[in-house]
């Protein structure tokens, strides 16, 4: 087994009386794609926010490459080699696509000077298929391109671990297919990926392992097959009618 | 043809010789916060110009210099003043300068006038500090701030030798603070106990906290104030909140005619004033106060306030210095100003020649006015100095 790149140890995050994440532990190994699934409100995005430093955990800790990163601000976490995308896209609207991606390259772990960062950004833009939009203002892109921009920005930091938060949501099938190609290509570069996804087919086919969260707690963990057949998981999703419907639809397809 | 040219040239030279002019430059706050005061001052200066030009101009030897005025609007703004005084000197080539209204603007103008060695008569500027910076060409007409309230305190001492505790409450602005600080020193010197010495912010409208402190201090008389708005409000609230004081003397506000609008709250309030239309000075030069008031009323249809008188006085002093010097040469005029010791309709004029305070006004004194009632009408009366008074001081007032 490869060494762990990320360890989440007994992390709890509470907002006042509301406990969003409760005593969650998980381990991600180098080079793998780890899927994080769960019904709406299960605490997936909150967990991402704890991992990359947007929130401080109420208790527990996050270890990245053997060093504790919980409690560090997000910009320190990126500099250690852990980048992320947002579920709700956050493009820097009045800046061009190239400038957006350059920000990622500039302030990542390599701390590149501006010109070197621009070169890296140009490469990443080509890699993610945004080449012809380089000089377009980010605010003018459609949603699919904005999602891809999120990925490109995070990737430009040359991270060793990438957190992807629902990069497929809201895309049409052909856009989904393109994005899946991008994600596979990223993995092929040796970058570990931790991803939240609702599109079951996609996450089942991509992930090496899957962790399931429900009501802030870890419900199950294992290979896609194990998880898909776990009665607890099915029950949890059945509690979420919308999700259950989605699973059914995908199975029909 | 050649002959004609020579004739024309001679004619031109001759006419030039006959109609010599001296140009005086200044800025006026036609807009902005000093608008009213500054325009009054300009009216006084213009009246002087008309008066002297009607006599053919300023007599210098056997020639006469017509007076020409050159002025611009400074918008009551410091940043305009330096721009415009530079223009007056370098582009309009004026011979002499008169200051803008207010100490603040005058200080800015002085930096410019001084670099060119141009003489500037400062009127409407009562600050002492401008004259302690080592300037050599600025001459002050007004009684400086340091002596604004000293005569008021003398008057109080004369009215009630037993009174001890006084309060000095001033607007925390440049002018009023300078006046109050000097008044405090003088009060102690002549034996008063300054029970409260305190400033209030210039925008104050609620004097409640201050009045509470005045009451708490046990002071029996109050001197201070600042400008018109705060002074009028202060007087009104002193009355409303029943502060029992034997004398109240405030800067600026009571000296203005609008102060009568306060009604009962105005009664008994005293003020130092640079000049009043009723003063009885015996000038040894120029016009008498009565003549000035009459001329002014004919020209503008209203009684002149002290700012207008200060404007006329500035012109008169300059005129006299040019006459004494027998020339418009700056060095000679400066020497004449340094030597000057006059009484004009505005009062005494004598400048400091000490290098540490050159140009500071030493001769001129404040008169004291008090709002009194004649047949139920509020009237402004001169109560001090005794030889200039129009009525006796009412004391105590409450």
């Amino acid at each position: 087994m490869k060494p762990a790149i990320l360890e989440v140890r007994n992390v709890t995050k509470a907002f006042g009386g509301l406990i969003a994440v409760k005593d969650v532990s998980l381990t991600q190994y180098q080079g793998e794609i780890l899927g994080l699934i769960g019904p709406n409100g299960a605490g997936k995005t909150t967990l991402f926010n704890v991992i990359n430093g947007v929130y401080k955990p109420t208790s527990g800790e996050v270890i990245f490459e053997g060093q504790k990163i919980s409690g560090l601000p997000p910009y320190e976490v990126v500099r250690r080699g852990l980048a992320r995308t947002h579920q709700i896209v956050k493009p820097l609207n009045e800046m061009t696509v190239l400038e957006n991606v350059t920000v990622g390259a500039c302030f990542g772990p390599q701390n590149l000077p501006l010109e070197a960062a621009q070169e890296v950004a140009a490469e990443v833009i080509e890699f993610t298929g945004l080449g012809k939009y380089a000089d377009v203002l980010a605010g003018k892109l459609n949603i699919a391109l904005k999602k891809r921009l999120e990925v490109a920005r995070a990737l430009a930091a040359k991270p060793r671990l990438l957190l992807l938060d629902e990069v497929l949501a809201g895309l049409n099938p052909s856009e989904v297919a393109k994005m899946l190609d991008v994600i596979r290509a990223i993995r092929d570069q040796g970058i570990s990926i931790l991803m939240i996804e609702h599109i079951m087919q996609a996450i089942m086919s991509l992930s090496d392992r899957i962790v399931v969260l429900n009501f802030g707690e870890k419900l199950a963990e294992g290979s896609p097959d194990e998880v898909a057949n776990d009665p607890q998981v099915i029950e949890a999703y059945l509690g979420d009618p919308e999700m259950a419907k989605r699973i059914l639809e995908e199975e029909e397809a | 043809m050649k002959k004609l040219w020579i004739t024309l040239l001679l004619a031109a030279v001759a006419s030039f010789g006959l109609a010599q002019t001296v140009t005086i430059g200044l800025t006026v706050s036609k807009t902005g916060k000093y608008n009213v005061e500054s325009v009054n001052q300009l009216n006084g200066i213009k009246l002087w110009q008309k008066w002297i030009n009607d006599q053919g101009g300023i007599p210098v030897g056997d020639k006469k210099y017509k007076v020409e005025l050159k002025f611009y609007d400074d918008e009551s703004k410091a940043e305009r003043v330096q721009q415009l005084y530079s223009r007056l000197i370098s582009q309009d080539k004026v011979d002499f300068l008169i200051s803008p209204y207010s100490s603040g603007l005058t200080a800015k103008a002085a930096v410019i006038s001084e670099q060119y060695g141009k003489i500037m008569i400062a009127t409407g500027a009562a600050s002492d500090s401008i004259f302690k910076l080592g300037y050599e060409n600025v001459y002050q007409i007004y009684t400086p701030a340091s002596r604004y309230l000293t005569a008021t305190l003398d008057m109080l001492k004369a009215a009630d030798p037993n009174l001890k505790k006084i309060a000095i409450v001033y607007e925390d602005s440049k002018f009023a603070k300078a006046v109050a600080t000097a008044a405090k020193d003088y009060a102690k010197k002549i034996g008063f106990d300054v029970a409260l010495f305190e400033g209030y912010p210039p925008s104050t409208t609620d004097f409640g906290p201050i009045i509470n402190k005045v009451k708490a201090s046990g002071a029996e008389a109050l001197v201070g104030g600042g400008h018109y708005a705060d002074g009028a409000t202060f007087a009104r609230q002193l009355y409303e909140q029943q502060a029992t004081l034997k004398m109240i003397a405030l800067l600026v506000a009571p000296a203005s005619d609008e102060f009568a609008q306060l009604g009962d709250a105005a009664f008994g309030v005293a003020a130092p004033s640079q000049w009043e239309p009723l003063v009885k000075y015996n000038p040894n030069c120029g016009v008498t106060p009565e003549e000035f008031v009459k001329m002014y009323e004919e020209a503008y249809g209203k009684t002149p306030a002290y700012r207008a008188a200060g404007g006329f006085a500035a012109g008169l002093v300059l005129q006299r210095a040019i006459m004494d010097a027998g020339s418009i040469d700056a060095d000679k005029v400066r020497a004449a100003l340094d030597k000057m010791d006059l009484t004009i309709f505005f009062g005494k004029i004598k400048f400091s020649t000490d290098p540490a305070s050159h140009g500071l006004q030493l001769g001129h004194d404040m008169v004291q006015i008090q709002w009194q009632k004649k047949d139920g009408e509020l009237m402004k009366e001169i109560v001090w100095p005794l030889d200039a008074k129009t009525s006796d001081l009412i004391y105590p007032i409450r």
Partner: protein, 322 residues
């Protein structure tokens, strides 16, 4: 230096040279005194733009730097007999350091809260200085005439000060250009667009904002020192005039926030416009109203200001004028 290849760099050098040479060669002091006001406005607007336009934080109290610079300079020159050059430098550095410390505190606030805090800071400093007797309290500081004599007489001193102000103006514009083209600037733009996203991308927002705030204090403080030295005196109401602060915002908005050339053009236009309105009889009382209507129209219909509008109809211009 890549900067030297930018056409705008040479444009800035050229404009600065024109400001310096035009009155100098014609020995026209009136022109000098007119241009000095434009230069001061440009300095205030250009540096304010580092906060408003580049970082997206509305500083309503930027004038506090200008005023403090003036006070420190006049105090050092007047009471401690320092030379002007060392005094303005020390004033610039100290005010900048002070802004850094202050920034650590108030830059934790965002949006309207930050804007309100900057008003509070300016008013607190003004009221404090009005009571601070070391600086003359409400009477302010008056410079003895000997201070000018030390620089070869007032005539020469005022020329020197003018050229220095023009130099500070040129430096302000170059600073705007350099920051815009730097990694630091990129980080600031990211903060302006979305601070949370910027932080996640690795921008050290707390440090960057504070540095921008501190940087935007440096040149205005020096300019304040020079300007009040030229005036010969400084009093609280002139030094910490909140209106001038807000006029500076109007200039930035008029020209186009976030651009390099915009605030300069805005400042110049505003100064001219104000002067024009004041000289038209009947309008002189309404210049505030007209400025207000102008500001409102810009905000409602052209939030990018003049340059933003020009760049939209002629995008190539952005490459040249930035």
């Amino acid at each position: 230096m890549k900067l030297l290849k930018a056409p705008l760099f040479w444009l800035i050098v050229g404009v600065t040279a024109i400001f310096a040479l035009l009155p100098l060669l014609s020995n026209n002091i009136t022109l000098r005194e007119t241009l000095v006001l434009s230069a001061i406005y440009i300095i205030l607007a250009a540096n304010l733009n580092l906060m408003i336009g580049y970082t997206g934080y509305v500083n309503f109290g930027s004038i506090v730097f200008f005023g403090l610079g003036g006070y420190l300079t006049l105090w050092l020159v007047g009471s401690h007999h320092w030379g002007l050059y060392s005094a303005v430098l020390v004033a610039g550095v100290s005010v900048s350091a002070l802004a850094f410390l202050l920034g650590i505190g108030i830059l934790r606030l965002r949006g309207a809260y930050f804007a309100l805090a900057t008003i509070g800071v300016n008013e607190a400093v003004k009221d404090f200085v009005s009571n601070f007797d070391v600086w003359g309290g409400s009477e302010g500081i008056f410079l003895p005439f000997t201070a000018y004599k030390a620089m070869g007489g007032a005539g020469k001193a005022l020329w020197t000060v003018y050229l220095l102000i023009v130099l500070v103006m040129g430096s302000s514009l170059l600073l705007s250009l350099a920051v815009r083209r730097s990694k630091f600037g990129l980080g600031l733009f990211a903060i302006r667009e979305d601070e949370d996203a910027a932080v996640v991308l690795g921008v050290k927002a707390p440090l960057y904002k504070t540095l921008a705030y501190s940087l935007s204090a440096f040149l205005p403080a020096i300019a304040g020192g020079l300007y009040f030295f030229k005036n010969g005196s400084v009093v609280p109401e002139e030094a910490f005039n909140l209106n001038l602060s807000i006029e500076a915002i109007v200039m930035v908005m008029l020209g186009g926030q976030g651009t390099v050339t915009g605030p300069t053009i805005g400042a110049f236009l505003y100064e001219r416009l104000r002067g024009m309105l004041l000289t038209i009889p009947g309008l002189s009382n309404f210049h505030m109203v007209i400025a207000g209507v102008l500001l409102l129209l810009i905000i409602l219909f052209a939030p990018g200001g003049l340059m933003g509008w020009l760049y939209r109809i002629w995008p190539r211009l952005r490459r040249v004028l930035e």
